[in-house]
């Protein structure tokens, strides 16, 4: 049976041609980030929501194409392991974790630092191709109005043409109107030549064609329609300096039920935003695609039914408002990602965002819209970057201490138990082989990663495994001391008694391992897993190898006659009844 187990494990190993365990990041090098959920009252978040967050983060991590990255739940925490990556990359990856919100823009202004604007990535303008398709079943009511208004943005150079636009989706080849509008819109900014001019145009609140290219107003409140804006938020807005990265960082909090002053993610613009009418969880899917009949990249959005009606209301409110209130800002983590114009109410639960996307930016935005909807806020409570050199050192350290530990135990067993010691050494050897193959097979089939805590657990467990042999050997010696049994009988009687002790002691270790594993934080789970695994292996080895081996050896003359080197010599076995002060052995009591 034991042989079958070893052959099964070893066979798997050979078949898969995998002879080394998979290493965890503390041994292989890489970055591990532990995210702890931040809840309002500090209570543990519901399991289901946590699972959803894990899936979202996993999608996000996988979406970046980092190879072998892993996202796992550990208690309330989410652990992200990325091999070979630095701290910065991983943090950036999981950094934007707040909930996504759609807020109507109430006011906006350019950040007054021209240098910063000049260094920004250009925001190419394109046509807000409304694409009023004749067969767009999802948005039939939008058809007439949007088709009528489609040219409007291009007609007025207020910046609408330069910013992106949110429209109802086009299902069929787009009409000729937007197709012709596109090149026109793109020519306009080129003619205007400076990016500064674009930004200013965008920031100018009044929708007058003449404002294009003019410097921004000096008085922050000038030109802003303050109607309906909370004065406190307005004051905040005026103070807000979007050139300071802190105001665009992760510390920014936004309450969906309140108005909010926010920065554009590149710091070029600042906004006063209305309460969030639609949030990230209202989105059912988002994807990047190429607009039909052109090469323009766009982002398609689908809303859930509850979100769809809110979305429809939000867009029609925005559509019926004056610039800049005709924009709806997409806010992620308190920062405006994009604030497209609404050029028509969008019923039907679908929408497209267009506006000079490249494949990369479109995919990025789609991912943010899709995965940005994390239902929880997380703090990175522990970030651990291990270089591959330290990893190797730790692995070596673990292996060397394992070898030394094993060596010491072997030496002690041989010294103390002599012939029986060989049984102990062989049993330890078998246990080591089983453990190794188990680790390899688990690594390649169950995603098991050997970490430093695992190695420590395994090394520490050498002691437990050896303890079982000691318990059994001592029992045999007890039986032999009574002097009335042959070795073969003693081996059997002692086994019955030792078995119980070994099982109880192993059960205690196993309970400890399970409790540690279930309540694990960080490396504890690995350690507990190793302890549990070796405890099981110990039971298997003692029952299927040590005991049969001893029973077999008991038939040998070397042991049965009590050779001095067998560990069962008569000097040790027959002493009790005569020459010492002790008159009772427990068996006689």
């Amino acid at each position: 049976m034991l042989l079958a187990l070893i052959i099964a494990l070893g066979g798997t190993m050979f078949l898969q041609k995998a002879f080394t365990p998979k290493l965890a990041l503390d041994l292989a090098g890489g970055t591990t980030v532990t995210l702890s959920p931040v809840t309002l009252n500090g209570a543990a978040p519901p399991e289901e929501i946590l699972d959803r967050a894990v899936n979202i983060i996993r999608d996000r991590v996988n979406g970046t194409g980092l190879s072998d990255a892993e996202v796992a739940k550990s208690g309330d925490n989410i652990i992200i392991s990325v091999p070979g990556a630095g701290q910065e990359e991983v943090i950036k990856l999981v950094g934007t974790t707040a909930e996504l919100r759609f807020r109507q823009v109430l006011a906006m202004a350019a950040t007054q630092t021209p240098q910063e604007l000049a260094t920004e990535a250009p925001k190419p303008g394109t046509s807000p191709s409304a694409a009023p398709s004749s067969t767009a079943t999802s948005a039939p009511s939008a058809k007439p109005s949007s088709s009528a208004r489609a040219p409007k943005p291009t007609a007025s150079p207020t910046g609408k043409a330069l910013s992106s636009a949110l429209v109802a989706p086009s299902a069929t080849p787009s009409a000729s109107a937007p197709a012709t509008a596109a090149p026109k819109a793109q020519e306009t900014p080129k003619a205007q030549d400076t990016k500064k001019g674009q930004k200013d145009a965008k920031a100018t609140p009044a929708p007058t064609p003449t404002s294009s290219g003019q410097p921004p107003a000096q008085d922050p409140n000038a030109g802003i329609n303050t109607q309906g804006i909370d004065p406190a938020v307005l004051a905040q807005f005026n103070k807000l300096d979007c050139s300071d990265p802190k105001n665009r960082g992760k510390g920014v909090q936004d309450d969906p039920a309140k108005q909010f002053a926010a920065c554009e993610s590149d710091g070029s613009l600042k906004y006063v935003l209305d309460v969030a009418k639609v949030v990230g969880t209202d989105i059912s899917s988002a994807s990047a695609g190429v607009q039909q009949g052109s090469t323009q990249w766009l982002v398609q959005l689908d809303f859930k039914s509850s979100g769809a009606s809110e979305w429809s209301k939000l867009t029609s409110t925005a559509f019926n408002s004056q610039e800049p209130r005709n924009k709806v800002a997409v806010v992620l983590d308190g920062v405006v990602i994009t604030a497209p114009n609404i050029i028509g109410p969008i019923p039907g639960g679908r929408a497209e965002i267009t506006g000079g996307f490249t494949q990369k930016t479109a995919t990025e935005l789609a991912d943010q819209l899709k995965y940005g909807a994390l239902p929880l806020k997380f703090n990175p409570s522990s970030i651990d970057t291990v270089s591959s050199t330290l990893g190797q050192d730790q692995l070596m350290g673990g292996l060397i201490s394992g070898a030394i530990g094993l060596g010491l135990v072997v030496l002690y067993s041989l010294f103390y138990y002599r012939g029986l010691g060989i049984v102990a050494v062989l049993s330890l050897g078998i246990a080591t082989v089983i453990t190794y193959t188990a680790v390899v097979v688990l690594g390649h089939n169950a995603g098991f990663r050997l970490s430093l805590p695992h190695i420590i657990g395994l090394v520490v467990s050498i002691g437990i495994t050896a303890d079982s042999f000691i318990v059994y050997f001592e029992r045999i010696r007890d039986e032999m001391k009574e002097g009335r049994r042959t070795l073969r009988a003693a081996v059997e009687v002692a086994w019955v008694r030792a078995r119980r002790t070994i099982l109880i002691a192993d059960a205690v270790m196993f309970i400890a391992a399970i409790v540690l594993y279930l309540l694990a934080v960080g490396g504890v789970a690995g350690f507990a897993f190793a302890m549990g695994l070796t405890t099981l292996i110990d039971v298997v080895v003692v029952f299927l190898f040590t005991k049969p081996l001893i029973a077999m050896l008991a038939k040998l003359k070397f042991f049965a006659k009590g050779h001095p080197l067998s560990g069962l010599d008569s000097e040790r076995m027959s002493q009790d009844l005569g020459n010492t002060g002790r008159t009772t052995t427990p068996q006689e009591a």
């Binding site: 503390d26 702890s36 208690g75 630095g86 701290q87 910065e88 943090i91 409570s381 522990s382 651990d384 970057t385 270089s387 050199t389 330290l390 050192d393 730790q394 070596m396 350290g397 201490s401 394992g402 030394i404 530990g405 010491l408 135990v409 002690y412 103390y416 430093l452 805590p453 420590i456 090394v459 520490v460 002691g463 050896a466 303890d467 000691i470 318990v471 001592e474 010696r477 007890d478 001391k481 008694r497 119980r500 109880i504 205690v508 309970i511 400890a512 409790v515 540690l516 309540l519 934080v521 960080g522 490396g523 504890v524 000097e571 010492t580 002060g581 002790r582 052995t585 427990p586 009591a589």
Partner: protein, 330 residues
């Protein structure tokens, strides 16, 4: 015969149970000293509990002053520099990602270390609280599970004695940490929790034998519970010492490698806690758990009767038995 030979042949007869006053006083003293240490010194909590950043790198030629200066230059306020061979470990206050990158680059420049070879660990301040909360829950759940299990496998009084010995081990180990100022990290807590399992392993071996031996005690028995327990203890003494020694050997190996080769880190923290805990655990399973069990059991009318009967016939049995019986009664 020398002690080693007697040990080898299993011919020891130490009156562990009879000297319960000595053990109780010794343990009581150690417990008070430990608690005092915890109250006066407190535990030297690692960066994991306070929040902060740790940088680790290898530099052959650096001096402590150079490393300190390098960190101060990068805007770190309180660098704590530790070293083991050519391996450096610097603990700083909590830094954000940008500051971490800055320091990382600074180290790379000052000591000629490739940027990717600088190990970084950043820990939020709440992390330690979470770890210790889980540890306490783990401790509680484990103790309940063990009390239930041992109550079923043995009996409730044995479970109680084992748990008391366990708490005794944990407090004294914590006391050693408080007085020595060893750093307490999550790895140390892990070590503490593992002690639980080990501490019980010995106790289980001893109790199993005691149960077997005392199960045969009848009203006409020539032995009190104390005597029988003491016999069982002596009988398993070699076993306990062997199992403890064999368990400690690999831990000592990890401790040795962890300290000399790697300096501060998981290996050292964990094995140190295990090392201290196992030594205390071996002592307690012999000198605390069993005497305590005897104290509890001798109160039972059945064993009181045996003790009374044997006490009245003193002289026939001679020194040890009477002494055990008398002390156990007292």
């Amino acid at each position: 015969m020398g002690l080693g030979r007697r040990l080898y042949r299993g011919e020891i007869d130490v009156d562990f149970v009879g000297r319960w006053k000595l053990w109780y006083s010794l343990s009581g003293f150690l417990l008070i000293v430990s608690l005092a240490g915890l109250l006066i010194n407190g535990l030297n909590l690692g960066v994991e509990f306070k929040g902060g950043s740790v940088f680790a790198f290898k530099a052959q030629t650096a001096t402590i002053q150079q490393v300190r200066t390098s960190f101060l230059d990068e805007g770190v306020h309180q660098p704590i520099v530790q070293t083991a061979g050519d391996r450096w470990r610097v603990t700083t206050e909590s830094l954000d990602t940008a500051a971490v990158t800055k320091v990382q680059n600074g180290i790379a420049k000052d000591f000629g270390v490739p940027v990717k070879d600088v190990d970084i660990q950043s820990i939020g301040a709440s992390w330690g609280g979470e770890v210790s909360k889980k540890a306490w829950i783990g401790l509680g759940v484990f103790m309940l599970a063990i009390i239930l299990y041992l109550s079923m496998a043995f009996e409730p009084k044995m479970a109680l004695a084992a748990i008391v010995a366990l708490i005794h081990d944990l407090v004294i180990t914590a006391g050693v940490y408080a007085w020595s100022g060893f750093e307490v990290t999550p790895a140390t807590l892990l070590g503490f929790l593992t002690i639980l399992g080990y501490s019980l392993y010995d106790a289980v071996v001893v109790f199993d034998m005691i149960k077997e031996v005392t199960g045969k005690l009848g009203t006409t028995s020539k032995q009190t519970y104390s005597m029988a327990a003491n016999n069982a203890l002596n009988h398993t003494l070699i076993r306990s010492l062997n199992t403890s020694l064999v368990a400690i050997l690999p831990v000592a190996a990890i401790l040795f490698i962890g300290t000399t080769l790697l300096g501060a880190g998981t290996l050292k923290d964990l094995s140190l806690a295990l090392f201290v805990g196992m030594i205390v655990g071996t002592y307690s399973s012999l000198c605390v758990a069993t005497p305590l069990l005897v104290t509890l059991k001798e109160r039972e009318p059945r064993y009181q009767a045996i003790a009374r009967r044997l006490a009245s016939t003193t002289g026939t049995k001679g020194g040890k038995g009477a002494k055990s019986a008398a002390t156990a009664k007292g």
